[in-house]
């Protein structure tokens, strides 16, 4: 999958919110791409835009292309798009409790996409639903299939969500904060499950989170977002060992670690994340950046290669400690 220059704006009577401002990235076959960033950085909007899940109005996809195989998802007609969603591309949303419909049984919600996308009959769909539930680790699935979501715990609901997303053997799975609402011991169960399923099924995964620790454990590559833009993207090991964007560096310095005694005071980034009410024509991190200089305030840095498979959107060279002179 390849996304280029995706831009999404929300219109309301008085304001505009520039939520995604030219997002480009690619997802390789079989890899797990971690997407990290603070609340409001545009992670969900980007992913919902490429699946065309945002209601319009207020949302408008102003520009962009989303290539999947040899098609552009943004120019498919609506009925083809519906086939892609939940078919080739499975997805899981942010809040487990609200995304399962409370009035239908878990089994119904699992069988629905199977019948719609794969055209399975009732009993076949039921058989496959039971198989999927057992695959995601729900005990005695043949009994639980008639239960309603409220009879499941948060972790079990999340497993069901994963089962639904996987129902049609997707090529791509997009998971938006699938473990944020869960306790760490349950999160560990889900992360282990996803790693196992990925090996078994060989799908590509986009995993959205604000937890730098979660991504460190599962991602092949990591993309960092800020102010509706991708500010850095690199192989996971490289990004954590050698962050090149001042925002990524600040994030990694600010989080304490459970495996080490830290310093007396946490390093903190002053100020607030940007408001997104104007289209960024300068670096969105400039008001909080310790290295900001004139160019940052007048010209927006594009994503530029800074190393082997490593891109960053910044005018400053953190290694040299000086403005980049090659661009």
């Amino acid at each position: 999958m390849e996304v280029s220059d995706l831009q999404t704006v929300f219109w309301s009577r008085r304001t505009r919110i520039y939520a995604a401002n030219g997002v480009s990235f690619h997802l390789n076959r079989g890899e797990l791409l971690g997407v990290v960033g603070e609340s409001g950085s545009g992670k969900s909007v980007t992913m919902m835009s490429l699946l065309r899940l945002l209601p319009s109005p207020p949302a408008e996809i102003v520009s962009g292309r989303v290539r999947l195989g040899d098609r552009d998802l943004l120019s498919l007609d609506p009925s083809e798009m519906r086939k892609v969603r939940g078919g080739e591309v499975g997805f899981i949303f942010q809040d487990p409790m609200t995304s399962l419909n409370p009035v239908f049984t878990v089994g119904y919600q699992l069988m629905e996409p199977l019948r719609k996308h794969l055209g399975l009959g009732r009993s076949e769909a039921r058989k496959r639903a039971i198989e999927l539930l057992s695959r995601v680790g729900i005990p005695s699935p043949q009994d639980r299939i008639n239960d309603y979501p409220h009879q499941f715990s948060g972790g079990m609901c999340q497993r069901v969500m994963i089962a639904i997303a996987l129902a049609c053997d997707p090529k791509v799975l997009i998971a938006d904060e699938p473990t944020t609402a869960l306790d760490v011991t349950i999160q560990a169960q889900i992360l282990e499950l996803v790693q196992k399923l990925r090996q078994e099924m060989g799908m590509s995964v986009i995993w959205i989170t604000h937890d730098l620790g979660v991504v460190a454990g599962i991602a092949d590559r990591v993309m960092v977002m800020y102010g509706g833009l991708v500010v850095e993207c690199a192989a996971a090991d490289d990004l954590y060992a050698n962050p090149r964007h001042p925002y990524t560096r600040a994030l990694l310095e600010t989080v304490p670690r459970a495996d080490m005694a830290g310093q007396e005071r946490l390093k903190s980034v002053g100020g607030q994340p940007p408001h997104l009410t104007v289209f960024p024509t300068s670096c969105p991190f400039a008001p909080r950046c310790p290295h900001a200089f004139d160019r940052c305030r007048s010209e927006r840095p594009p994503l530029m290669p800074v190393g082997e498979g490593h891109d960053a959107a910044c005018w400053w060279d953190v290694i040299e400690g000086s403005p980049r002179d090659d661009v």
Binding site: E38, S39, S153, G155, M156, D183, V184, T185, I186, Q187, A188, Q189, L191, E192, H210, D211, L212, G213, V214, A216, G217, A219, A236, D237, Y240, A241, A250, L251, L252, T254, V255, P256, R257, A258, D259, A261, G262, R265, L266, K267, S268, V269, G270, Q272, P273
Partner: protein
């Protein structure tokens, strides 16, 4: 007695073993009712025999999964709920059942900061009046004095004193949490229960608020009970750590010992499940993955309540509740295997 209100006083520093708050066998059961007659059919044992010690001027981290009773413990300590059983000692005084004037006076010394700064700030009140509200309730200060104090408090939490006339919705999440902190400081308390104060904040804002809490602790000799499920932040902020599971504390001790050498199987599993922001460390780690979910607090397992998920449970665990034992200096644990 409450210390003189107008000034932010410095309280006497105490030695490391001076216990400000001690909780012994504390229980709180929420009754559950059924049917039109509302017959009581049982109870949710939200807090079910908790033992804790919080040392003066220090921070005790209370960790555990959601629903294990952390918030309820904090609220019983502040006497927002009447305990079902057990004993709460604050500054040497038994406050388990105090009422009336005595309770009011004690409450001024103990405050709470909440997880969701938005939900607990009245949207129709100015920030100044929100912060001054405890001063009114306790009739501590009037007029000019009160205004001065409000400005002082705003300044202490790093907000511009001119913001006193603005409304909560004009502030960001981090700033609202600062307002909540200023309000908690208004009566110059000794002890603050911080209930997941950073859980709703962005990573980059969390550090600002945690640093503020640390500064204020030093400046005003505060003692904190820091409730959190973020084990990384607890390691950073808290000198002592208590690990709670299904209404009971499983292990209590100094931070470095708990993190380096956890004794209780639940603590071990919990720590091994925390992701670390370093791919190389993550790859090398051995995770203890617990099976299943948290049992219901209405009907906890017999014997050791962790036994249904414990990877090293044995016969005795179902039959007999492990005792709360002191294993070394300030280190306590409840497990048959840790004997």
């Amino acid at each position: 007695m409450m210390s003189e209100p107008g000034v932010l006083t410095i309280k006497p520093q105490a030695g490391p073993d001076d216990v400000l708050l001690r909780i012994i066998d504390l229980t709180l059961h929420f009754p559950t009712y059924r049917g039109v007659l509302g017959r009581q059919v049982g109870g949710i044992r939200a807090v079910d025999g908790v033992n804790l010690e919080v040392r003066r001027g220090r921070t005790l981290g209370l960790v555990g999964e959601s629903g294990c009773g952390k918030t309820t413990t904090g609220r019983v300590i502040l006497r927002l709920y009447d305990p079902t059983g057990g004993r709460i000692e604050f500054d040497g005084e038994d406050i388990t059942h105090i009422q009336g004037k005595k309770l009011r006076r004690m409450r001024a010394r103990m405050q709470m900061i909440f997880q969701d700064p938005q939900a607990c700030l009245n949207p129709r009140m100015t920030v100044g009046s929100i912060i001054a509200e405890p001063l009114n309730e306790h009739r501590a200060l009037k007029g000019k004095e009160k205004e001065k104090r409000t400005r002082e408090l705003l300044d202490a939490v790093g907000l511009n004193p001119k913001f006193a006339n603005r409304y909560p919705h004009e502030f960001s999440g981090g700033q609202r949490q600062r307002i909540g902190i200023a309000r908690a400081l208004a009566l110059n308390p000794d002890f603050i229960v911080c209930d997941e104060p950073i859980a709703a904040l962005d990573v980059s804002i969390q550090a600002q608020v945690v640093n503020l809490l640390k500064d204020l602790q030093e400046q005003f000799s505060l003692t904190y009970l820091f409730i959190s499920h973020d084990l990384s932040m607890v390691r950073h902020l808290c000198e002592d750590v208590a690990v709670m599971y299904l209404g009971k504390v499983m292990e209590l001790g100094p931070r470095d010992l708990i993190y380096k050498d956890p004794m209780h199987p639940y603590t071990k599993a919990l720590l091994s499940a925390v992701p670390v922001p370093d791919p190389r460390v993550e790859r090398a780690r051995q995770r203890i993955i617990l099976k299943g979910d948290l049992p219901s607090p209405a009907n906890p397992p017999s014997g050791c309540r962790f036994r249904t998920r414990c990877p090293v449970a044995f016969d005795r665990c179902a039959a007999e509740q492990p005792a709360w034992r002191k294993v070394a200096g300030n280190r306590w644990v409840a497990c048959h295997r840790a004997e």
